[in-house]
C-alpha cells in the first residue's frame, strides 16, 4: 500500500494551484531575476576580457592547464544527473512519489546541462575554431580524433541534452494543453504552439505512455554513460590520481549525490514560494532524503576505496599526490569536502532532520558545497604535484574564473526562474493520476481490490500491455 498521506484534492484545484504559480510574479521574483541577470552580465564581461587577452588572464598556467572551468563543468554535468535519471528510474520502478517532483527536477537537469555546456567553450584556447571538434566533411580530409575522451564528451553531452529536452517536453505536453486552455495573450499563442494540439484523446494517451516509458528506458543507461564519459576525461589520462579505474562509478555516484541535494534545495524553495504543501509533502521529502543518504553512502564507499587502493598500490606518484591532497597546500579543500560531503550526510539518518524542511534545505546546500569542493580537488591537486617535480606549482583560480563561476550559478538560477514562470513546475496530470488511483483505492476496502488497484496502477504506468 502506498503510504503517502496526500489529501484527496479536487482536480480543478490542482489546475488552479499550479497555474497560479505561473501568474503575476511578485516583486521578489524580479529582484532575484535582475540579480541573476547582473551576474550573467558580469560573467559575460569577464569572458569577453579573457577572449581578447588570452586565457592567461584567468591565471591558469603550466602545469595548471585545467582548472575551475573543468571542475565547474563536472559539477554542473553532475548536477544534471539526478533530475532525468531519477525521474526515469522512479518511473520504471512505479514509485509514484516521483510525480509531484519530477518536473522541476527534469528542468533542473536541462538547465544544468545548458550551464555545463558553456564551460568547455569558455575553456578552449581558440573558441572561434571550436567547430573543428564536429565531424563534418571538409576539403582537407581531416576529421576529429575519436580516440580523445573529449570527443566522447561532445557526443555524450549532445545526446544527453537533446534527449533530456525531449523527455522533459514529451512529459509536459498534457500540461501544456492545460495551460493552453486557461491562458490568454502571448501565453495562449506559446502554449498552443507547444502543446501541438493535444486534446487528451485515448489514442494520444496510449502513444504518450508508451513513448514516455521507452524514453525512460533510454535515459537511464544514457545518464550513467554520460558521467562515466566525463570521468574518462580524467581516467583515460596517465596523470597520477586521475588515472583511476574506479572513476566512472565514482563520478556517477557523485553526480547523483549532488543532483539529489540540488533537488532537495529546489524542493524546499518551490514548496515555500509557490505554497505547494499539498503536493510536495513531508513524506516525499523523507523518501528523497533517504535516497540521497543511500547514494551518499555509495559515494563515500567509492571515495574511501579510492584512497585505499592508492595507498596499498604504493605507487610512488599516486601516493605523493594523495599525501599532498591531505597535507599539501590544497588540504583545506580536501578536508572541507570530507566534512561537507562525507560527514554531513549522516544527519539524514535522523527522522527529525528528514522531516524538517529548512534543516534539509541548509543540509542540501552543505552537501552541494562539499561536492563542488570535490570537483575542485579532483582537478587541481593532481596537476599541482604531477610526475615532474620541477613543474610543481600551486595556483589558485583568479578573479576571472571566480566571476565566471559565480555567473554560472546566476545563469542557472535565471533559466530556472524563467522556467518556473512560463511552464508548470509540478506535473498536473500526473498528480491527478495519483489522486485518481488513490481515490479508487480508498473507496474499496478489502485487500483483493487493493491488489487489483495496484495492478491497475502498474498497468497504467507501463502502458505497454
Amino acid at each position: 500500500m502506498s503510504d503517502y498521506s496526500m489529501k484527496d484534492i479536487e482536480w480543478a484545484k490542482i489546475n488552479r494551484d499550479v497555474l497560479a504559480s505561473l501568474e503575476s510574479p511578485r516583486k521578489e521574483f524580479w529582484i532575484v531575476l535582475s540579480v541573476c541577470i547582473f551576474l550573467v552580465l558580469c560573467g559575460a564581461a569577464a569572458e569577453v576580457y579573457q577572449y581578447n587577452e588570452g586565457l592567461g588572464t584567468a591565471l591558469m598556467n603550466k602545469p595548471h592547464f585545467w582548472q575551475l572551468y573543468i571542475s565547474n563543468f563536472v559539477f554542473w554535468i553532475g548536477m544534471s544527473h539526478s533530475g532525468t535519471l531519477l525521474s526515469a528510474i522512479l518511473l520504471l520502478t512505479h514509485a509514484d512519489w516521483r510525480k509531484p517532483i519530477y518536473r522541476f527536477a527534469e528542468a533542473m537537469t536541462l538547465f544544468s546541462i545548458l550551464t555545463a555546456a558553456i564551460f568547455p567553450v569558455i575553456h578552449l584556447g581558440r573558441v572561434w575554431d571550436m567547430y573543428w571538434v564536429l565531424p563534418y566533411p571538409n576539403e582537407r580530409g581531416i576529421w576529429p580524433n575519436f580516440r580523445s575522451p573529449l570527443l566522447w564528451d561532445a557526443a555524450a553531452i549532445t545526446t544527453y541534452a537533446t534527449s533530456s529536452i525531449l523527455f522533459l517536453y514529451v512529459g509536459m505536453i498534457p500540461d501544456l494543453a492545460i495551460c493552453r486552455d486557461n491562458a490568454k495573450g502571448w501565453r495562449k499563442k506559446l502554449y498552443t504552439a507547444l502543446s501541438i494540439g493535444w486534446m487528451g484523446r485515448a489514442s494520444e494517451w496510449m502513444a504518450f505512455r508508451k513513448t514516455y516509458v521507452l524514453l525512460a528506458c533510454f535515459l537511464v543507461p544514457l545518464a550513467v554513460s554520460v558521467h562515466s564519459i566525463v570521468a574518462s576525461d580524467f581516467a583515460m589520462s596517465i596523470m597520477p590520481d586521475w588515472h583511476i579505474t574506479s572513476f566512472p562509478p565514482y563520478f556517477v555516484a557523485g553526480a547523483l549525490y549532488s543532483g539529489c541535494a540540488a533537488i532537495i534545495t529546489l524542493f524546499v524553495l518551490l514548496r515555500y514560494v509557490f505554497k505547494f504543501e499539498d503536493y510536495m509533502t513531508t513524506e516525499i521529502m523523507d523518501k528523497t532524503a533517504k535516497l540521497t543518504f543511500a547514494i551518499a553512502m555509495v559515494w563515500n564507499y567509492l571515495n574511501l576505496s579510492e584512497y585505499a587502493s592508492i595507498w596499498y598500490s604504493n605507487d610512488m606518484f599516486e601516493k605523493e599526490v594523495l599525501l599532498e591532497k591531505f597535507f599539501g597546500p590544497y588540504h583545506w579543500v580536501v578536508w572541507g569536502m570530507l566534512l561537507c560531503a562525507l560527514v554531513a550526510p549522516f544527519a539524514m539518518a535522523f527522522e527529525k532532520v528528514r522531516h524538517n524542511m529548512w534543516a534539509m534545505f541548509w543540509l542540501s546546500l552543505v552537501l552541494q558545497l562539499g561536492m563542488w569542493l570535490e570537483r575542485f580537488q579532483i582537478v587541481s591537486p593532481p596537476l599541482a604535484s604531477n610526475h615532474e617535480p620541477w613543474t610543481w606549482a600551486v595556483v589558485w583560480p583568479g578573479l576571472i574564473q571566480l566571476t565566471i563561476t559565480v555567473a554560472s550559478f546566476g545563469w542557472f538560477t535565471m533559466l530556472f526562474l524563467i522556467f518556473c514562470k512560463v511552464f508548470p513546475s509540478v506535473s498536473m496530470y500526473e498528480v491527478k493520476e495519483m489522486v485518481f488511483h488513490r481515490r479508487k483505492a480508498s473507496s474499496r476496502t478489502d485487500m483483493e481490490d487493493l491488489d487489483k488497484v495496484k495492478d491497475d496502477m502498474i498497468k497504467a504506468e507501463e502502458g505497454l500491455s
Binding site: K62, R126, S237, I238, W242, H387, E388
Partner: protein
C-alpha cells in the same frame, strides 16, 4: 579496386612496428656529466624557434614559453662531508642539471587525447604539433608526464618591440594566442637537410651531423648529441648502444659503466631522448 587497396593499407598500417621501414628515427642523447647548466641551449632555442620572451612577471606566473628548460635539482652528496670542500669557494652542494624538452615519445600520451588530431606521430619518429589545427583544449598538456608542452596563454607576438620582429626565424611560424606548442627537434632544420639530401640524390640517407638542433649546436660542452637512430654508424646510435638503452624496453638494465636511462620510462611512453647519468666522485 578502392576496397582492395583499403584492405591492403589496413594490413600495412596495422603492423606492429609501422615505422620499421622508414629510414629515419630521430633521437637524442644528453650527457649530464657534461652539462654545466649554463642555459645556452635555452637561449639558442629561443632564437631558433621564435619563442616569445614573456618578461619577469609572466615568467613568475608560470607563463614562460621555454621549449627547453634547465631543471635544477639538489642532491646532497653521499658520505661524510669533506671539510676542505665545504669551506672552499666552491662547495659541493649536489646541484644537478637536467635539460628538459619534449622527449618525442613513441607512445606519446599527448597524441590520442587531442580532440582535433592536432598532434600526431610523423614517420621519422617525431611527435608533431600542427599549430593551425590546435583549438587549445590543453588536454595534451595535462597528459604529458614531462610537462613540456607550452600553451600560448597570451598573444605574445603582439609584445615584440618594433624592429625585433625582423629577427624572427622565417623558417617557422609565429604562434598565435590559444595554441599549444613544444620542442620539435628543430624540424625546420631536419626538413632542409632532407631537401638537400634529396637534391644530392640520396633521399634515404642524411649523413650524421648534417642536422644539428639549435641546442646541440650551441652547447659549449657538447653534452647534446642528436641524430638518426636508424643509422647504425651515427653518433647517437653508438651512444645508445654503448649505454645499453634500447627502444621498446620499459626498464634499462644497469650494467657497469652504462649510465643511460630515459626519464620516466617506467610509464612506457617510449621517449626518444636518452640521458647519461651524472657520476660524482665525492671522495676526490
Amino acid at each position: 579496386m578502392a576496397l582492395k587497396r583499403m584492405l591492403e593499407n589496413w594490413s600495412d598500417l596495422r603492423k606492429r612496428d609501422y615505422y620499421e621501414d622508414e629510414p629515419y628515427m630521430w633521437g637524442m642523447s644528453i650527457d649530464l656529466n657534461k652539462c654545466t647548466g649554463c642555459g645556452s641551449c635555452v637561449t639558442a632555442c629561443y632564437a631558433e624557434n621564435n619563442l616569445p620572451v614573456v618578461g619577469k612577471e609572466r615568467c613568475g606566473s608560470g607563463h614562460a614559453m621555454h621549449w627547453m628548460r634547465i631543471e635544477r635539482y639538489w642532491e646532497e652528496p653521499e658520505g661524510e662531508t669533506d671539510i676542505d670542500i665545504e669551506q672552499s669557494d666552491y662547495p659541493e652542494r649536489g646541484a644537478h642539471y637536467t635539460p628538459m624538452m619534449c622527449q618525442q615519445c613513441n607512445h606519446a600520451p599527448c597524441e590520442p587525447v587531442c580532440p582535433v588530431a592536432a598532434t600526431y606521430h610523423t614517420p621519422d619518429g617525431l611527435n608533431a604539433q600542427v599549430y593551425n589545427r590546435c583549438v587549445g583544449s590543453r588536454y595534451c598538456g595535462n597528459n604529458c608526464p614531462y610537462k613540456v608542452r607550452y600553451f600560448n596563454f597570451f598573444d605574445f607576438s603582439k609584445d615584440i618591440p618594433a624592429p625585433l620582429e625582423m629577427q624572427l626565424n622565417p623558417d617557422l611560424s609565429v604562434r598565435s594566442k590559444g595554441v599549444m606548442e613544444k620542442c620539435t627537434f628543430c624540424v625546420q632544420r631536419i626538413r632542409s637537410a632532407k631537401d638537400k639530401a634529396e637534391d644530392a640524390g640520396h633521399r634515404d640517407y642524411i649523413e650524421d651531423g648534417a642536422v644539428k638542433t639549435a641546442c646541440q649546436q650551441t652547447c659549449p660542452t657538447e653534452a647534446i648529441v642528436f641524430g638518426n637512430l636508424k643509422d647504425d654508424d651515427s653518433k647517437v646510435k653508438t651512444l645508445w648502444a654503448e649505454h645499453e638503452v634500447e627502444l621498446n624496453r620499459h626498464e634499462q638494465e644497469k650494467v657497469e659503466d652504462a649510465r643511460g636511462y630515459r626519464v620516466l620510462e617506467e610509464l612506457n611512453v617510449e621517449p626518444s631522448v636518452m640521458y647519461l647519468d651524472r657520476v660524482r666522485d665525492t671522495e676526490a
